[in-house]
Symmetry: C2
């Protein structure tokens, strides 16, 4: 099928396992471009510029905003996050599907600009479990954990704005569910071109 | 999630591999009730009443129609096929998903009566391959093969009436695609009840 790419936007609370699901799912899915975010937040140990995020200082990030170089940007617990526009639009135009991982505010902004985006929400089984995972990660202060839980509450209340919800209880099931959504959306007949239908009808 | 079941309707030309896909997929999918059709057509070798079809003589089939016992019925190359209503409606009401395998006319009738039905079309890679498969099956006369191909042409032209298309080129991919559609549709946030959202928000 020669079609425009499909844009998938994935949202979910910190600690819910978005990165783990994505890292397990991406090797199973061909032709899906994962768009790396720009951020002003401090690198965590092991994180690399251009692999996990594009790390910018606040002044350079502001320059990106001013030059209309971001599809969305949002502040989250004191740091800025944003999606560089050009690589996303180029991938969609050459027919590659794109996955964005965004906070709720950014996800809404992308949906407003690109209403054809398919919206996925990753939910924890409950906030008790999310609290446990955030503490287990051991990277955040108590104050930051409380901020993340407060944000998670607000995000979960917005779940109905999304097309799909994946509950990350058992990782293997969450990965299967995530992949299923990508595969299924690719099979929608709205993506069929007249050429595709002509191919099905081909006779000797 | 305590919700009403989802109705899936699967359509595709004779010989395209609907039965093979379904038989490979069903053991992978829990809570999916496959509704057996009623028919007046002659049993093929190995087919069993109540397993492959409910086989009826034309008079008994007419009685089912008259008593409003069929969700749809249609004539196909001289035989009648129909879907008994009661088991489908009961399964949906108890929250079980249901799969129907129908000819195009019947699929349209069900969609008209139950517009929430999710419509799947199984397409051959092309009609050259479908012709080869029909001949390989060795059950039909040349005249019947020509009728089936003519019907396949008409069905393929209606593919855009369906929500999803699965191309049965490689069986393993077609089965994966079929399962993905079922899984993905179950993850739609429209099925979330207020109770499901309350569960996500549960705290100590």
């Amino acid at each position: 099928m020669s079609r425009r790419g499909i844009l998938f936007v994935m949202t979910g609370a910190s600690g819910v396992g978005k990165d783990t699901i994505r890292q397990a799912a991406l090797p199973e899915i061909d032709n899906l471009f994962y768009s790396i975010s720009a951020t002003t937040r401090t690198k965590r140990p092991g994180e690399l510029h251009g692999k996990h995020y594009y790390f910018y200082d606040p002044a350079s990030f502001q320059e990106l905003i001013d030059n209309d170089g971001l599809l969305e940007h949002a502040e989250y617990v004191g740091d800025y996050y944003g999606t560089p526009s050009a690589p996303v639009k180029e991938a969609l135009e050459r027919g590659q599907d794109v996955l964005l991982e965004l906070e709720l505010v950014g996800a809404r902004e992308v949906k407003r600009k690109l209403p054809e985006a398919i919206m996925l929400f990753i939910a924890p089984p409950n906030l008790i479990e999310l609290d446990r995972r955030l503490r287990g990660r051991g990277t955040d202060s108590e104050q930051r954990i409380q901020k993340r839980l407060a944000r998670a509450r607000e995000e979960i209340k917005a779940v109905k704005e999304f097309d799909y919800v994946v509950v990350n209880d058992m990782l293997v099931t969450a990965v299967r569910d995530f992949c299923s959504i990508i595969y299924a959306e690719r099979l929608r007949t709205r993506h069929l071109s007249p050429g595709d239908v002509a191919n099905f009808l081909k006779e000797l």
